[in-house]
């Protein structure tokens, strides 16, 4: 008798998704899928809008990573204007993007995944949340909250608003940085670096407890993709696309991000509203790749900042296939963000008043690419002669990982789930592998510990064989 296990909704991720696990007659996992179940419609309803509104409109996609969309959207608009924005504006946008990545990574690690890491995959679900952490390890909880606050404060200092700021505009930013604000940002950076280093020390100590998961999460071998700087260092704002194979050998380098459509194809699968992008030269599904922190650190020569590079040395001793190490990569990137912000704030032109280029639209088509917390993000707009949007296409970071997430779910389910003796902890591991990718499926973080998890084992005749409720 075949059975299907449904995990719906998947909790402690951003957005709405469900997982189905199909069991065979013997109660073993035969297949499993990750389904994204929401439609947003942004690409459609922006049609007809003036393109200058696009950064603000598009940032509304997400309340966690509005800045990422602001940046990619504004870059696409820069391309429509055909301007090269002032250096100070580019660096200010860079800092904003780094602060965004730091706060989003902190949310992913401390709020969403640390409950599994600190309390254990089999811990009582009622405890397995940020409040459970606050009880067991108050300092860790405080650190998570503080890191996120720092990222948000930097965003606010730069742009005047923590969420959905209007500061990033086509052609640059609409206000220069003042000396006071620069100093206010500089003042928090060293505390942030200290917190991340403390967290890494703790995390290194517990890695041993998760050897089984690390191994199970590494059964998947994929390509890795991301932007790198001209010298092969970590780059979040500009740069060229690099693709490495499963063994980290570079198979494509210096690809123009605006030509992404020429080397990345998009397949559609019936079980998900999210498309499945793949690397065209290897075809579908062999061209499966991963993006985001793990992929970025697997393709770069170095981070380009001292503390992060030191940690990168340790990171390279870990199994680079394992999605479990997205967590460690995320911590290294937070470190990098704070160090890089420090470097950028010391560039001589950072306080320049010249932060915006003005022009009429000079191109009908514009593409903007940057690194978002979860990976490479692309906005692609086409406008008419009056500057109104004719077509918009977005390739979202989480989308790149879709195939890898789907296959990871299958691998982890096969490793842990046994239909005959279904336990909540087994299913939590299936969710946990999804959490390593930190997918942002829409714009909402679910209320911690409040989301119901309802798993049913359903027989072909529709009768419920077994049931677990969270």
């Amino acid at each position: 008798m075949t059975q299907t296990i449904l995990i719906d909704p998947v909790t402690r991720i951003e957005g709405h998704a469900k997982i189905t696990i199909h069991l065979n007659d013997a109660g073993e996992v035969e297949d499993a899928h990750f389904h994204v179940t929401q439609v947003r419609g942004f690409e459609k309803f922006v049609e007809g809008r003036p393109f200058h509104e696009m950064p603000a409109l598009m940032s509304r996609i997400c309340g966690i990573c509005p800045v990422s969309h602001l940046i990619a959207s504004a870059k696409a608009c820069d391309a429509l204007l055909a301007v090269r924005i002032p250096p100070a504006a580019a660096n200010l946008r860079r800092i904003l993007n780094l602060a965004q990545i730091a706060q989003s990574h902190a949310l992913s690690f401390f709020y969403l995944s640390a409950p599994d890491l600190l309390l254990g995959m089999d811990a009582d679900p009622a405890q397995r949340n940020l409040f459970g952490i606050a009880q067991t390890a108050p300092q860790l909880a405080r650190d998570g909250v503080r890191l996120r606050q720092m990222g948000q404060q930097i965003i606010e200092l730069l742009s005047g608003k923590r969420i959905h700021p209007g500061w990033v505009v086509p052609g640059g930013v609409n206000q220069a940085l003042t000396e006071e604000k620069r100093d206010a940002i500089l003042a928090v950076l060293s505390e942030g670096i200290g917190i991340v280093q403390r967290t890494m020390l703790w995390f290194r100590g517990i890695l041993k407890q998760y050897e089984s998961e690390i191994q199970a999460f590494s059964a998947l071998h994929t390509l890795f993709m991301g932007l790198v700087g001209p010298d092969g260092t970590l780059e979040m704002y500009d740069g060229r696309v690099r693709i490495a194979d499963a063994n980290k050998y570079i198979i494509a380098d210096g690809l123009a991000p605006e030509d992404l459509n020429t080397y990345i194809g998009e397949a559609v699968e019936p079980w998900s509203y999210l498309k499945s992008p793949y690397y065209k030269p290897l075809g579908y599904p062999s061209g499966m790749y991963r993006v985001g922190p793990l992929a970025r650190l697997n393709i770069v020569r170095s981070c380009g900042t001292p503390h992060a590079d030191e940690e990168l040395g340790f990171f390279r001793t870990l199994d680079h296939h394992s999605s479990f190490h997205y967590h460690y990569a995320r911590l290294i990137e937070i470190l990098y963000c704070f160090e890089k912000i420090n470097q950028l704030l010391h560039t001589p032109t950072i306080l320049s008043e010249h932060v915006r280029a003005f022009a009429a639209p000079n191109n009908h088509e514009g593409i903007g690419v940057s690194e978002a917390p979860r990976g490479t993000l692309m906005h692609h707009y086409i406008i008419d002669d009056d500057g109104l949007i004719v077509r918009a296409n977005l390739v979202i970071a989480t989308g790149h990982n879709n195939m890898a997430m789907d296959r990871s779910v299958y691998q982890v389910a096969r490793r842990y789930v046994r239909g005959a003796e279904l336990q909540e902890g087994m299913l939590n591991r299936v969710e946990a592998v999804i959490r390593t990718f930190d997918p942002c499926l829409s714009c909402s973080t679910h209320a911690v510990g409040q989301m119901p998890l309802h798993v049913q084992l359903v027989a072909p005749d529709g009768s419920v064989v077994d049931e677990i409720k969270r």
Binding site: G48, P50, H52, H164, G166, N174, D386
Partner: protein
Amino acid sequence: MSRVATLKINGQDVSGREDETILEVARENGIPIPTLCQIEGLSNVGACRMCLVEVAGISKLLPACTTRVAEGMDVRTESERLTHYRRMAVEMLFAEGNHICSVCVSNGHCELQGMAVALGIDHIHLPYLAPRRGVDASHERFTFDANRCILCTRCVRVCDEIEGAHTWDVMGRGVGSVVITDLNERWGDSPTCTSCGKCVQTCPTGALFIKGSAVGEMTKRNTFLTYIAQMRGNLK
């Protein structure tokens, strides 16, 4: 020379010339009455119904911007009934168009938004009509987004009365009314528009804005209007 009338506004004894409106006399005496379509320097049309007031002895509400003062009048500018109707009028404006403040060029500087805040409106109780209205971005310097138009006709009046071009006018009836340029041509093709921008600066919402404005960047500067009107003797 007009005669002077004495009257009461909110119980306060005030006086004004008989050719003055209740709104003018109230403002001379520091008594606020909310308005949207009215702007100093242009004629009054009583379109928005924000300035409705109660006058003792008259059962219907009267617009303060178009009602002249009279001897012995007893006017109330604030009451539960007035607030109810003002809120309803603003809610209707929101329901009738597509006003998405958070992504609007006038966010934070919009008179409609300001009015909603002042009246404590946090929900629209009417179903949104979500009309399909277009954006005319054919003009070289300005854009007209009909989604945000509340038909106050300030643009029509300023273009006619101050600039003298009469490019703008109103077409259609009732809920189907729209402001148009010339004979409903693209603004960029208008032979009468002088590109002076007075319509943009007097528009209370983000319906008319300077091309290239991003969210919240469009602040309107319309103090020129009082000055021009005074110079021409249009203001009393």
